[in-house]
Symmetry: C2
Subunit: 416 residues, 2 copies
């Protein structure tokens, strides 16, 4: 019996070095977490994160304060036995729902809250999140999920069947636990880095063992993007998987013009070519650049929009983010949808939110998703009690109980 005694939010912000994290749209990021902190009657606490870029982080914190008070007094195992129902009731708060629904500030708050209860639950069991999830029956996993508004694509029975059918194939896949999960390096080519620096960074990433890396594009002048993409491809050779990320910079016609010209560099994917709400726009661009894949998801807020993207053919690579959708639960829901549609899941960042280190293991072993690679952005490592460890381009399997989301308390952290 472990009972939640107190829920608080914390607004934690971490300045970056000049140029770090900058892309075509987000010119001055301050990497920040809206933290849900769950205190219990035992010596353990749960820490949940939602990620933001600074301003607005306090809004997510206040939404956490609003939404989370009903968790006080709840016993964690009893709570999680039917988390799908609880999650739905929080998502459908009769007043707060209006300022969403299921998107923006209130949904980020639900992400943080959800991640906190999962962290607490895993710590209470004394296991890392990936193991907590792998040890559950299919029925127990599906009881964690809010499958509302998905009836025609994925109902409870089918979700259980998908997981059950994968169970006998788990053995071989569990090798990933010893070997670790491959990473890819995003920090080679932030938007404002000069040409020389991206070439050096790309070569260094190769030396560090990464077999995949990503470059920021989305310039006003397409020639700059084409030039830089060519530079990196030339520097690393044809064997490395290279991706580019426009961070929503282009209109649909602009993307249709430039994407094929970038794709000639043998790109593994082109990420966020246009506005994240433009389902049909993504579909058109995806058709124009095939077989190069379109990747999207870091700004797709919920399972309903993911369902639309997947069914329309708007993405091949599903970059669902457990700190954007409603936490671990909706991440699993979206991963099940992707399984059904035969799409690959490569979550948005592995180390900054930390949770995805666990979830890619679950996705591979329990859902049968292909073992690909997970984004690595190390800028926040020093702020965590249990930072992710990436060696020779590979994420080590986390062994500490919980998700590893505990932040060091003494670190400088300032609200704007």
């Amino acid at each position: 019996m472990t009972t939640i005694h107190r829920v608080t939010s914390q607004d934690r912000r971490f300045p970056l070095k000049p140029g770090e994290g900058v892309d075509s749209i987000h010119s001055n990021p301050v990497y920040s977490y809206a933290v849900t902190f769950l205190e219990t009657d035992k010596g353990i606490a749960g820490t949940g994160l939602a990620f933001t870029l600074g301003a607005g982080n306090e809004l997510v914190c206040q939404a956490i304060d609003h939404l989370s008070q009903s968790l006080v007094g709840r016993e964690i195992h009893e709570l999680m036995a039917d988390w799908g129902t609880v999650s739905r009731s929080l998502a459908d708060h009769p007043q707060l729902r209006w300022v969403g629904p299921h998107k923006g500030v209130v949904h980020l708050a639900l992400a943080s809250i959800t991640n906190a209860v999962f962290d607490l639950w895993a710590k209470d069991r004394g296991v890392p999140l990936w193991k907590l999830l792998l040890d559950m029956s299919p029925e127990e996993v599906v009881a964690l999920l809010d499958l509302s508004y998905l009836d025609e694509i994925l109902d409870r029975d089918e979700a259980i069947t998908i997981i059950r059918n994968e169970q006998e194939l788990r053995g071989e896949r569990e090798e990933v636990l010893a070997k670790g999960y491959p990473g890819y390096d995003t920090s080679v080519g932030w938007f404002d880095y000069p040409d020389k620096e991206i070439v050096e960074n790309a070569k260094r990433a190769l030396d560090q063992g990464f077999a995949a890396m990503k470059l920021k594009v989305g310039s006003k002048d397409p020639k700059r993007d084409i030039h830089r993409t060519g530079l990196v491809r030339e520097a690393v050779g044809e064997e490395v998987r290279l991706m580019v990320d426009a961070n929503q910079a282009w209109s649909v016609p602009e993307a249709l013009e430039i994407c094929p010209r970038l794709a000639v560099n043998n790109l593994y994917w082109i990420e966020e070519p246009t506005h994240p709400d433009d389902v049909q726009g993504h579909k058109k661009i995806a058709e124009a650049v095939a077989p190069t894949a379109i990747a999207a998801g870091e700004h797709i807020p919920n399972r309903v929009l993911f369902k639309n993207f997947m069914r329309m053919g708007g993405m091949k690579i599903v970059q669902v983010d457990a700190t954007r959708v409603a936490g671990v639960s909706e991440f699993i829901t979206v991963s099940l949808l992707a399984r059904k549609f035969g799409l690959k899941v490569v979550p948005h960042v592995g180390d900054m939110g930390l949770i995805h280190r666990h979830l890619v293991l679950f996705n591979h072993i329990a859902l049968g998703h292909e073992k690909l690679f997970l984004e690595a952005i190390p800028h926040l490592d020093s702020y965590f009690v249990h930072p992710s460890v990436v060696r020779e381009g590979v994420y080590e399997t986390p062994r500490e109980p919980g998700m590893g989301t505990d932040l060091k308390s003494e670190i400088h952290s300032s609200a704007l």
Copy 2:
């Protein structure tokens, strides 16, 4: 020269009588405004509103505080000469954008801010908003709009052409200014009202001169919805336009099951049958209930999602809300999109946010949209300095300068 000296937000909440405003999803609404208040060096002030249901209203107010400070010191006419560019820069705030983008709390804040500058501008000119807009050249109107991410459907030149082509047809349409704009009554059938009351209310609405009215549906038990819809149809006869509103209660299969059974009551539209992000779901339902129309929009956050809904055939009635999208500007953008796709615009509520009283006149006279009817929900009338006047089921044309959005200051208004 009228310069903005100070921008503040106000959190105004107004409790309703029991049962008022209740629908299948929103069980305890407290009608609330996140107010942007612009003070100037002259004796006039601008008041902009975004509408919420209570909890979370303070989040919108704080986002207003964040986003609006760059307006201090700006001269209103100079500011509005290129509002489309300013609006885009606010919508793309490099940090706050992450907690949207263009949706939820931050976009509601932009709605409130935008509406405040339009109110101030109209007051400074000494004209009601509808006249301010009608007196502009097509080029001036289009300079108010952020058309980004719409290139392939509606660019600046085409927007100007649409408005210019309608100019010579204005004369006849201006009759609406003297006659007023028809209303429809939504308060006949809130979700929890007993059968007897909805029948009485429907008959009273008829007596008051309304020729159209709406009933809330979305019950767990479809029989209740079918029964109540039949009751109202029987009470008011076949000539009255009757609509039903499910407020997103159904999954797609549920909607496909119940909507045709409701539509036999000669419904003018079925509103929000499912989740507001489900573009394809709406398309399927629209096909199943045709020729009955699907109406949606009160929860569609921006022009990009509207573009998707329209192009996919997900709606026939566009219920864009200038207190949900980015205010007057994005309302006009969406109305232009609707014109292009041949769809009708019936904004979400005419009196509560008050702005739509003005915007339907602009839409009809300047854009050539059909004169239909505008939702009337009178519960907040007493709180406004210039409430809307609905006589014999018809909205009187507002004559006071601005939008009529000034709230009485002495009214009880409490933050939760």
